[in-house]
């Protein structure tokens, strides 16, 4: 079985509002899967269905090949976007309690907590109350509690909110190392830069429907628009430009006076670059030649805009 989670035509209604409409997903094992979408798209509802907090009206969800059932809760770790801890409870007690709720024995939970507290260098917080800790510190505890029972599937909803850049980086490393150790991870966010860094696969949810999914690199390839960035050095820029304009579509041009270089963005009919290179090779020094790869953010915005236009 190569998928940790398969959702099949999942539909969920709240009264007259449709939160999810025929959403199907396949989340490969041992990967980081980005669940993207604007606020209110239905990501949280989907995540809650996976966590069995709420149930689909139609469709089914399979976890590791089996129809999702209550026992799977112990195999899933969930860091919700709306998260917090008991303010007046001590860190250690609280972590033990939450771990036991996930089915760990007290002794085992204690052992693992020791390990994680040392790993994140927060050992001396054990007897502190949450209300004595800063928001970032509490978030670290929350992260530990989420991963402590070593679930097969981890779901992080906006995991980096509330962290300063240094701690965000620590958590990112932890997430990557968990993935190295074989955990599958669903990563829900609308912060695209972290998607680029972490996700192998993505699904884009918009207005209750999945509008795009697949391997991020494949999607990027599909979204390439054959635009190339070219840096040139010539004796006569104007002459070159005049010649080029007849044969190629120049989107933008500017002259870098420091590097003494002409920077162009050129739209080609296909991603066949041999013609233009041959053309330029005889007329100028080519300092830079690079195909523009769309960022996840570009894809996100473009897809949603297209979808909105389709709907109108």
């Amino acid at each position: 079985m190569s998928h940790i989670l398969v959702a099949n035509e999942v539909t969920k209604q709240f009264g007259s509002h449709t939160a999810l409409k025929n959403v199907s997903l396949e989340i490969p094992k041992n990967s980081i899967y980005g669940l993207l979408g604007p606020n209110g798209a239905g990501k949280t509802t989907l995540i809650r269905i996976i966590n069995q907090i709420t149930y689909p009206d139609q469709g089914s969800v399979y976890f590791d090949g089996e129809l999702l059932k209550p026992e799977h809760i112990a195999q899933i770790g969930y860091l919700p976007e709306e998260r917090g801890l008991y303010k007046s409870m001590k860190v250690g007690e609280q972590a033990l309690y939450l771990a036991q709720l996930k089915g760990l024995s007290k002794a085992e939970a204690k052992k693992r907590l020791k390990y994680w507290f040392e790993r994140l260098e927060i050992g001396d917080w054990w007897n502190k109350k949450i209300q004595e800790l800063s928001k970032g510190m509490a978030q670290k505890i929350q992260f530990v509690v989420t991963v402590l029972h070593e679930p097969k599937l981890l779901i992080f909803d906006e995991p980096f909110s509330g962290f300063d850049p240094i701690n965000a980086n620590i958590i990112k490393e932890q997430i990557l190392s968990l993935k190295e150790n074989g955990t599958s991870i669903i990563f829900s966010t609308h912060r695209m830069e972290s998607v680029e860094e972490l996700c192998e696969y993505i699904a884009l949810i918009h207005k209750s429907e999945k509008i795009l999914d697949g391997k991020l690199s494949d999607i990027k390839k599909a979204y390439k628009s054959n635009i190339f960035e070219i840096g040139l050095e010539t004796d006569n820029d104007q002459l070159l430009l005049n010649d080029m304009q007849d044969k190629f579509q120049i989107l933008s041009q500017d002259y870098d006076s420091i590097e003494k270089q002409l920077n162009l963005r050129v739209q080609l009919p296909s991603n066949e670059s041999r013609d233009i290179l041959a053309f330029l090779g005889s007329r100028a020094n080519v300092n830079g030649f690079k195909e523009t790869i769309p960022s996840a953010s570009d894809i996100f915005i473009k897809t949603i805009q297209n979808k909105n236009i389709d709907n109108e």
Binding site: G15, E71, Y78, R83, L98
Partner: protein, 447 residues
């Protein structure tokens, strides 16, 4: 894999360790006992304060009536005018002045007698004065009729009708009041517990919402388990608190009474009997002892073990029903100020039950109103307990009513917990504006 015990344990410990809970638990008995002792002390103080009353007696009567006693001193003015006597009374700081004018006969004197005082005189002072005068008047009237006081006492002896139930059990007057007090105490206890601990459950739910831990927890346990764990854990904390109160309160009261040397009987002494009555009514000592025996017998006949058993049954069911409503309210709102609108309709039936109990059950424990309210599930835990001291079966609560009321209560419990759990499940994940009743109804239909 049942996580309910874990949740119960956490809720219990969280509640019991809470500072205000600890303070309340250990301070309340001191406050309560302190208050009782203070009241007792003040009552005694009031009693022992000696009042000085001036007497201006221009009549030829009442020579022996106004003599200094333990509680009151009488100072006789002689051969001065009323105006002067009044002045002297004020100047000397006496409590008041009794004026008996010179009239042709005793009746006339009594008619024209006045009591002057700075403020309105206290009831006990007036009682004393009036009974003194009444006593003298009666003597005089008896003399005119040619009857000796002994004969009069004989004539005045009280009469109580013999009362018996149809199956021949002897009944006595006044026992109903005692039963009412016992039933009322049980009912009141249930109401207080529900309001206080229901409130705790509600606040605990709100706390989980505002601290945003709720979603973390319900990704591990079912919301229903969390709700029930919370209700049970909190009620166990409440039982602990009551236990500590009862034990420590009893000990403290005992110690306090010993230290201050206060007679416990003085606390329970009714104020309804006016002083002076005792010496006019002839008290048959034998009859009294016999009555006490009868009362004791009747009290022993209150089915105390059955009552305790049903107290627990009604208490548990009533508490579960109400605290699930409280939990649902807590889940529906974001903060405590928003709860008012929802709490009022919850407290209403409890208040109603207490009032129905006091005004209807005690006068007619098996009347139609008492029966109706002891079957209605939101009031039955209180009203039925108020009826129970009159016994179960013949003469008391018919067995079918008891069974029906418990059955209705259980059915309601299942229904209410089902509804509350639905509202709870949706509500705990809803943030933002306070929902309307209409929205709450919609939540019931979410799956």
């Amino acid at each position: 894999m049942n996580k309910l015990p874990l949740i119960i344990k956490r809720e219990y410990i969280a509640k019991v360790r809470n500072k205000s809970f600890v303070v309340m638990t250990f301070l309340s008995p001191f406050l309560m006992v302190g208050m009782i002792l203070l009241i007792a002390y003040l009552t005694q103080l009031n009693d022992t304060e000696k009042k000085v009353i001036g007497v201006l007696n221009e009549s030829g009567y009442f020579a022996n009536e106004f003599v200094t006693s333990e509680a009151t001193s009488y100072i006789n003015f002689k051969d001065i005018s009323l105006a002067k006597a009044k002045d002297s009374t004020v100047n000397l700081g006496f409590y008041g002045l009794i004026y008996l004018p010179n009239e042709s006969n005793l009746e006339q004197v009594a008619q024209r007698a006045f009591f002057y005082s700075k403020d309105a005189p206290s009831a006990s002072v007036l009682d004393k004065l009036e009974s003194s005068i009444t006593g003298r008047l009666r003597q005089e009237r008896l003399r005119e009729l040619g009857m000796s006081p002994k004969e009069y006492a004989e004539m005045d002896r009280g009469y109580n009708i013999n009362i018996e139930t149809f199956d021949g059990l002897q009944n006595i007057k006044g026992i109903n009041e005692i039963k009412a007090i016992i039933g009322g105490a049980f009912g009141y206890l249930i109401m207080m517990f529900i309001i206080i601990y229901g409130g705790f459950v509600m606040r605990s739910v709100i706390e989980e919402k505002t601290s945003r831990i709720i979603e973390v927890i319900i990704s591990s346990v079912k919301p229903f388990h969390l709700m029930m764990g919370k209700i049970i854990g909190t009620s166990l904390a409440g039982i602990t608190q009551f236990g500590i109160w009862i034990v420590s309160g009893a000990i403290l009261l005992f110690i306090g009474l010993a230290i201050f040397d206060i007679d416990p009987a003085s606390l329970t002494k009714g104020s309804g009997v006016a002083p002076g009555m005792a010496n006019t009514t002839n008290v048959d000592v034998d009859a009294l002892t016999q009555n006490i025996q009868l009362y004791a017998q009747e009290i022993f006949e209150i089915p105390i073990f059955a009552m305790l058993f049903f107290f627990i049954v009604y208490f548990v069911l009533g508490y579960l029903i109400y605290s699930s409503i409280y939990a649902a309210i807590g889940a529906a709102v974001d903060n405590e100020t928003d709860t008012q609108q929802f709490i009022f309709p919850v407290i209403l039936p409890l208040m109603l039950a207490i009032y129905v109990g006091f005004f209807s059950v005690f006068s007619n424990p098996n009347g139609p109103i008492a029966v109706a309210f002891s079957l209605f599930p939101l009031t039955s835990p209180i009203v039925m307990l108020m009826r129970l001291p009159w016994g179960i079966g013949e003469g008391g609560v018919p067995v079918w009513q008891l069974i029906t009321s418990i059955a209705i209560l259980i059915a309601t419990f299942i229904g209410i917990v089902w509804v509350a759990a639905k509202i709870y499940r949706v509500g705990i994940l809803m943030y933002g504006k306070k929902p309307s009743y209409k929205e709450l109804y919609k939540w019931l239909k979410y799956s």
